[in-house]
Symmetry: C2
Subunit: 250 residues, 2 copies
């Protein structure tokens, strides 16, 4: 998609154009913790929030980005090298005051990726200037712009959808086992789940396909699975623990 030089056109709108950015909230599960990829803003005085942690993102490049979605994929690729993440639009945040440089609207995506490959111990495998940070800790930091609010919304959306979808499967490298998947659910939701109910639910939802047994460090080998359709998550007919969720409403 070659971008042509914009030809001369009459002005299409009397209004000043806002700044337009795309940010990506990239989640993974690493060391049994839900983590998010943050980048450090350049430590120069003319940057809006020098040295602060921020979500990866930046201005739309109308010359190379065919669409918002492509722009998000590009930024994700630049940060993680990944080609086929789970990527979903989260929403947009725009106001006169959220960026000191002017009226600015950002389109936010959220991505689920498997943890980075590591040599020995899971550690600093993030690109330079960026880091995988545990979500609760990230929320405690004073992030740049309104990124704390955006991150909170992303975490809420993730936790909410995990209650009734197969989203955590996208946080694992394939093939994975059902015990690994259950552990991922438990990490994201922060509570233990019943093994039998969990397995029934996953297998009944028909979104996995067997990929041969996988041996762990000890005990019986477990069946490996792959996601049938990486384009969309499976939706379960009920949420987990719907009863308790209701009763805690009071």
């Amino acid at each position: 998609m070659a971008a042509k030089k914009p030809a001369r056109r009459p002005p299409v709108s009397a209004f000043e154009r806002p700044l337009v950015t795309v940010d990506v909230v990239i989640f993974t599960v690493l060391d049994d913790q839900l983590k998010v990829l943050l980048v450090r803003r350049p430590d120069v005085a003319l940057d809006p929030h020098p040295g602060r942690w921020a979500l990866p993102g930046g201005f739309i490049n109308v010359e190379v980005d065919a669409s918002l979605h492509h722009c998000a994929l590009r930024k994700l690729r630049e940060k993680t090298g990944l080609q086929t993440p789970y990527l979903e639009q989260l929403g947009s945040w725009g106001s006169a005051t959220r960026d000191p440089r002017g009226w600015c609207a950002t389109h936010v995506y959220f991505a689920l990726v498997p943890p980075p490959e590591v040599g020995e111990k899971t550690a600093e495998t993030a690109p330079p200037g960026s880091a995988w940070i545990e979500v609760a800790m990230a929320l405690r930091k004073r992030l740049a712009f309104d990124h704390a609010e955006i991150l909170a919304a992303a975490v809420e959306r993730l936790r909410g959808k995990v209650e009734y979808t197969s989203l955590p499967a996208f946080l694992l490298p394939e093939p994975f086992t059902l015990p690994q998947l259950q552990r991922t659910y438990e990490t994201v939701l922060g509570r233990p789940m019943d093994k039998s109910a969990f397995r029934k639910r996953m297998l009944d939802a028909q979104f996995l396909t067997e990929a041969g047994p996988i041996a762990g460090d000890a005990g019986r080998a477990a069946m490996g699975y792959r996601i049938l359709d990486r384009e969309r998550a499976a939706v379960f007919p009920r949420t987990f623990r719907s009863v308790e969720v209701q009763s805690t409403k009071d």
Copy 2:
């Protein structure tokens, strides 16, 4: 929120700024049909889609719009005069090709409003140049830009959420009765529902408050209700007919 004249600033981004618009998908139930408010684009040659039906919306005005949300509220107010609708962000659509005038991103909101007040027969009470159009018919029209795709996404989101939330309550003028609310659910979803299960579900969800009996045209008067919290919809622990929804998956 007085907008000051933008002072001279150094350029903050080397990139050309995209066009930024806000569109609103406004739903109501009128004559037992789910309808959407559409506006006719001006019938002049320099308009991108002259004479076509489109979603109400337009460019952000950085002088008057404090935020995207305020912009959506303004457009809604301009079209319907309503102050307290249910308003939720649907998503954003942006690409190099969706608007012939240039790279354009639109932030789409969807609103649920009670039907317009009418003198005698429900009919043309929409503002000039606009009309309430039944959703299936609107989807069949060749709308301006990618508004057909956006409308389809809005309808899908609405129908999806209606299965497990109290959203249809925002389509009725208050106070309303449970039979009226059930009829609204049935209109939106296009299928009949069981009265007993419906009532149990609504009352158990604790989002309504009694507002005195309301007499209909015939038969016993029904209890009127108001929404307790107009800022958010109630979420039910299960979807309606989760069993059948599952079985139709095959």
